[in-house]
Symmetry: C2
Subunit: 357 residues, 2 copies
Amino acid sequence: MEKFQETLQKILPVNGEVMEKTQERLDDLTKPPGSLGVMEWIAKKIAGITNEVKPGIPQKTCILIAGDHGVVAEGVSAYPSEVTPQMVMNFISGGAAMNVLSRHAGAELIIVDMGVAGDLPDMPLLIKKKVAYGTENMCRGPAMTREQALKAIENGIEVAEEVIQRGTGIIGIGEMGIGNTTPSTAIISLYSGKPVEEVVGRGTGVDDERLKIKINAIKRAVELNKPETADPIDVLSKVGGYEIAGLTGVILACAVHRVPVVIDGFISGAAAVIAGALNAEVKDYLIASHLSEEPGHRAMLDYLGLNPMLYMNMRLGEGTGAALAMNIIDASLKILNEMATFSEAGVSEKIEDEQKV
Amino acid sequence: MEKFQETLQKILPVNGEVMEKTQERLDDLTKPPGSLGVMEWIAKKIAGITNEVKPGIPQKTCILIAGDHGVVAEGVSAYPSEVTPQMVMNFISGGAAMNVLSRHAGAELIIVDMGVAGDLPDMPLLIKKKVAYGTENMCRGPAMTREQALKAIENGIEVAEEVIQRGTGIIGIGEMGIGNTTPSTAIISLYSGKPVEEVVGRGTGVDDERLKIKINAIKRAVELNKPETADPIDVLSKVGGYEIAGLTGVILACAVHRVPVVIDGFISGAAAVIAGALNAEVKDYLIASHLSEEPGHRAMLDYLGLNPMLYMNMRLGEGTGAALAMNIIDASLKILNEMATFSEAGVSEKIEDEQKV
C-alpha cells in the first residue's frame, strides 16, 4: 500500500524542453518536415520520457503476466482455465508466439505468475508473485479484495523495477489468462461510458451463444459490484484481474523511472486505462502498438489519447503486438540518430522556405 | 519490347495447394486459429508465391529508382528538380531515411538512375539505366514515348533479375523523383474512376495555391493526352514517369521469378496499379506495407485488393514504408517456422473443438 502511494506520487511530466530540441533536429534531417509521421512522434516522445535529445537504442524487456479468472465458471471463454498454466509452461519452454516475437525483437521475456489457478513448478525463468489462485467469480462478488488488487500492483512495480535496475530502457507488456477479455471489457465499458454490447468482442473466438453469456456476465458483475470509476482501485478489484493489476503496477513503475512502455492489445490496454485513471501523466509514457480485433480496444486507445501503428487484425495477446512494435521504435530512434541533415548532405530545402529567406 | 512481352506471359498463379498446407500448420500452432491475423496471411501468401510450405527468412533487397518530371515546370512541387540528383547523392553516401531503414531491415539497397534530369558521376553503388533526362511536361504532350516507357520497364526487369540471381528472396520497392505524386495521381484517378480532387494530396507538402496548380495540371494532362486505361502502357507513357515504369518492371520480374514484392507508398503503388492492370495475377505477388498520407493511396490498395499493415502517417517515399514492413514479414515467417504445435506443447484446444470430437 505504501509502495503504491509512493510510486503514484513520484510520477513527473515528460520533458517538453528536450522534446522541442528533438523536434528541431528532426526538422533538419533530409526529408520534408513531418514526412516520417509516427516515427518522428515516437522519437520525440522517447526523448521527452528519457530526458535525452537523441536517445540511443534501448535494452528491451517484455513482461508477460499470467492470471486466472473465476468468471470463466459462467462459460465466457472458448478455452478452459487449464490452458493458462499450460501456456505458462509453453512460454517457459519457448514455443509460444510471444517467445518467437520477443526473440525477434531482441527483447528479454519475463514470465510472471500473478494469479494462476494452479501450482506451477519452480523454474529459473518463472517469476512467482502469485497473490491468489485466480480471481473470484465477479458475477457473485468482487473479483479481488482491495488489498489483493494493491498487492498485485505492488508486485508488478517490483518486477518492473528489477528489470529497470538491470538496464532495461523500454518495456513491452503482455498477458495470459483464460477469460481475461471479460474483465477488460467491463473496465473499458465503465471508463468510456459505452454500453457493454459496443465494446465486447469474441476474445479467443467464442460463438454467438457464448458471446451472449459473456455480455450478460459483464452486465451482472457491474450491477452487483457497482464499481466507482472515480476510484480506479475499486474498479480494478471488483471487475479486474491479477494480471491486469500487475501490469498496472509495471506501467506506474515505468512512469516513475522514465522508461517508455509499449502496450499490447485489449488486456494490457485495460491495465493502461486503470493506470491513466490513477494518474493522467502516465499516458505520456505509453506507446500504442497495434489495434486489436477486440472492438473495445479503440475506446481504450481513445481514452489514453493514443493511436496504434499496426493494423494486423491480431487478437492473441501475450504482448505479441508490443513485441512487433519494438522494431519500429528502434527504427524511429535510428532515424533520429543516423540520418544526415540538409547542410551535411548538400540538399536544397523547400522552395517556399528558400523564398522566405 | 520482346523482353517485356516474354516476362508478361511467363507470370503464373500462386500455389493454392501449398497455401492450404501452410494454413493447416498455422491452425495447429499454440494460439487460437487466425488470432495472428495479417501475420498468418503474410506467411501463407509467401508460401503460395515461393511454393514452399515453410519458407525460410529471405535475403532482402530494396530497389530505389529515381527519375525527374517535366511537369515540375508547372509548379506542382514544393521542391525544385535539382533535389532529385542531390538526394541520389545522399542515398549513395548513406544519409537518407531509406539508408537508415534498409540497414535496419537487413536489406541491401540498390539505387537506380532511370531518368534523372542531370548527369550523375560514375559510382560503384549507382546503377545507371537512364532512359532520358526526365520526362517531358505531360501538360504539353505525352510524358514519354511508348518506346521509352517500355525501355524503362525492361531496365527495371533487368535490375530485378540481377538481384534475384544473386539470391534475393524478397524485394521492397521505392523511388525518388521531385514531382512524382503528380503522375501517380493521374494514374490512380484513371484506374479508380475517381475525380482528381478526391485522390490528390500535398506530396512533399505543397500549400493550397500549389495544390490548385497541381490539380489543374493533372486534369489538363489527362484531357490533352487521353490515356486509354485498357492499354496500361498508354497510360504509363502519357502520364507516368521513368521511376514508375522501372518499378513496374521490377514487379513483373518478381512475379515471374516468384519473389514477393513489398510495395511502399503512393508512387510504388502507381507502379503496382500499372503492373496489375497489365496482368491481374501480379496482385498475388504483392504485400502492402503502410498507408500513405496521400489520399489516393487507399484507392490504389483497393484496386490491388490489398490492406496496409502500418498506419504511420508517412509521406516520404524512397521505399521507407516497405523497409519498415520487412521486419514484420520476417516475424511472420518465424511464427510459421518456430512456434510449437498444440500436441508438442501439451496445450488443450478449444472447448467447442473438444466437444465435437
